[in-house]
């Protein structure tokens, strides 16, 4: 591994983990809480991170300063994998990035969820569920010989979409106002974490592409490389692998610097739930070809139709599981 690959992966990973911890960023909470308690604060943070990254990547690739890769639109895998991921993350109590940063903070439930996540990935990638993955991924929809994007599917210049969506969504976010900027736990307000994560995403694209991995932040693939190394000795570690390691360390540093490091563990049944949810998340993310970061942030920043479909499916899966686990029981017992 080259020097720049190692140092830039670490720099981006550390910043990513630090920002995740300070912002308590979690797409699981963001998606779920809209439905469960009508709170869109975390959702806004995610939306802001997406549009900041989308605008930056659109400009850089539009000026031909940076190559990009668009995740494929293998619709069956996107839908089924996304639904599974949404279900799994609600069970596990966190999305993939949320799970990883909370490992750095000392949360045992998240550690078990992470182990489950890796095992689920392997199960679908090279284990008993590999045939299922292959079948679901077998049909890819292209547009004019290229990977399907929001732009080419309606036949317009990506600049319009890649800059238009940030303007429109940005306006909606700005109209909503920043809200109360002081959060009870003392972390970053949603607009701070949204901006910062978007900027980190752009930095990821730039440094990763310059060492040949022409993509940005992602969780599933990098986690897979570590589990494959641990369980079969095959070494596919690259920029993404370094970034993931940096993420956990960065979160640890943030927690330590702000006195939020603490070993915490739920009771047994919840641990099992977290682990099981992690496995389902891993299977879903591997099949879909990405998760709440790989698709719902990085893939969306290049307007991938597959990523958009996966993100909707994750949302639906999360809402379904949240309804079954929490909302219906809550409605049943309140007056």
């Amino acid at each position: 591994m080259g020097g720049f690959e190692l140092t830039s992966g670490l720099a981006v990973g550390l910043a990513f983990g630090y920002a995740l911890q300070r912002g308590r960023f979690c797409v699981n909470t963001g998606f779920r809480d809209i439905l469960m308690v009508k709170d869109s604060t975390m959702f806004r943070a995610w939306a802001l991170a997406v549009i900041v990254q989308m605008a930056g990547v659109t400009i850089l690739s539009g000026l031909d300063l940076m190559p990009i890769t668009v995740p494929p639109f293998w619709w069956a895998a996107n839908i089924s994998g996304g639904l599974m991921f949404g279900v799994g993350m609600v069970l596990a109590g966190g999305c993939s990035s949320g799970t990883c940063y909370r490992v750095g903070e000392g949360m045992a439930g998240s550690l078990l969820a992470l182990v489950g996540f890796g095992l689920g990935i392997l199960l679908a990638d090279r284990g008993a569920l590999q045939p299922l993955q292959d079948v679901l991924r077998s049909n890819v929809i292209f547009v004019g010989g290229e990977q399907a994007t929001l732009a080419n599917v309606i036949g317009i210049n990506p600049l319009w979409v890649g800059l238009g969506i940030p303007v429109a969504v940005g306006f909606w976010l700005w109209r909503g106002g920043a809200g109360n900027r002081q959060y009870a736990s003392g972390g970053w307000a949603w607009h701070i974490s949204g901006f910062t994560l978007g900027a980190i995403g752009i930095a990821a694209w730039l440094s990763s592409s310059s060492v040949g991995r022409e993509f940005g932040l992602s969780m599933t693939g990098p986690i897979r490389t570590w589990f494959v190394l641990a369980l079969s000795g095959e070494n596919y570690l690259d920029w993404g692998s370094v970034m993931i390691a940096g993420l956990i360390v960065g979160s640890f540093v943030a927690a330590w610097a702000h006195k939020e490091l603490r070993w915490r563990a739920p009771r047994g049944s919840r641990m099992l739930q977290a682990g099981g949810g992690g496995i389902i998340m891993g299977v879903g993310a591997q099949i879909a070809g990405g998760c709440n970061i790989g698709h719902s942030m990085t893939g969306m920043s290049v307007l991938s139709l597959g990523s958009v479909v996966t993100t909707f499916s994750i949302l639906l899966g999360a809402w379904l599981m949240a309804y079954i686990l929490f909302i219906r029981p809550m409605a049943a017992q309140s007056v």
């Binding site: 300063l65 668009v70 292209f142 980190i200 730039l206 693939g221 490389t225 610097a257």
Partner: protein
């Protein structure tokens, strides 16, 4: 930790992040260090311009004043040994017929895809001729408002090459390839595409695919070359011997490596077939068929369009 230290930690991380982003942007857009030595952006005054394409393409339109020097003319084809470089006397005769004079600079071009020009430039370079390739070929020249001519060009009087033809060291034999396989000093570079490399390559060879570095045939981005070349452990002072499916493919890798700034690049003067048939030690990956996940991209290499 005090508020000041907390801010310091955050600041350090922010600075590292910005540095990573800025360095990435710079790395992606650096020019090749020896670009000017190997590529001409436009046809220079006084240079001998040579069209490396076949006669049909040439007759349809060529740069005015360019004579034809087809890359295939340098190769001899037999059933047993296809695409082997002709011997020096034959090559000298071919070059004399084009009107090559000592000390005259040559600019070679092809359509722009790199199918022909690198090979001609390589052979010329091996004979001590200062040769450059027109970046982007005829397509780029036409796009810059050049008007092709269809008049055949009769070259100037024939000049004997004997006086200034140097003993060439660029093109090497199979023995040199064998030497590279067993030595630590010389790197064997396989210029072929990823699939061919995966099916089977010479033991100890690394993949430095011309197509990967320059998909459109012209000059790749620095990063495109770097991430093919860097993982192979190549430094500016590394000694390299290149081989390819044929000489034209090897020549493209040779040209990219030289333009990238690597000085000591030699080329095996024949097709890969010769090496394979000669019983060289080969490396065939186990379980060839399923491509290995080469990166941490969740979706693997993007599925190829139909």
């Amino acid at each position: 930790m005090s508020g000041r230290s907390q801010k310091l930690v955050g600041l350090v991380l922010a600075v590292a992040l910005v540095a990573a982003a800025a360095s990435g942007l710079w790395r992606l857009n650096r020019p090749f260090p020896d670009y000017d030595q190997w590529f001409a952006v436009q046809v220079p005054q006084g240079a001998l311009v040579v069209d490396a394409r076949g006669s049909l393409s040439y007759s349809r339109g060529h740069i005015p004043g360019a004579s034809r020097l087809w890359s295939r003319d340098f190769l001899s084809y037999s059933a047993a040994l296809p695409g082997v470089l002709k011997n020096p006397d034959e090559i000298s005769a071919i070059l004399s017929a084009v009107g090559l004079a000592p000390g005259r600079e040559v600019v070679v071009y092809d359509q722009g895809t790199g199918a022909d020009a690198p090979l001609v430039a390589m052979v010329l370079t091996s004979l001590g001729v200062s040769a450059r390739v027109l970046d982007g070929g005829l397509d780029a020249w036409v796009a810059a408002s050049g008007v092709p001519s269809t008049d055949p060009v009769a070259p100037a009087a024939v000049v004997s090459l004997g006086e200034w033809t140097t003993e060439q060291t660029l093109l090497v034999s199979a023995d040199a390839v064998q030497g590279a396989q067993s030595s630590d000093d010389t790197l064997l570079a396989d210029a072929r595409g990823a699939i061919d490399f995966a099916i089977g390559h010479l033991e100890m060879a690394v993949s430095v695919s011309a197509t990967k570095m320059a998909p459109d045939g012209g000059l790749p981005r620095w990063s495109e070359a770097a991430w093919v070349v860097d993982p192979a452990g190549v430094l500016p002072e590394t000694s390299i011997i290149v081989y390819g499916t044929d000489l034209a493919e090897a020549a493209r890798t040779w040209l990219s490596l030289r333009a990238y700034g690597i000085e000591d690049v030699k080329v095996f003067a024949g097709p890969f077939q010769v090496l394979a048939a000669a019983g060289f030690a080969m490396e065939v990956p186990v379980g060839a068929g399923a491509p290995a996940p080469a990166s941490s991209l969740c979706f693997g290499a993007p599925a190829a369009a139909q």
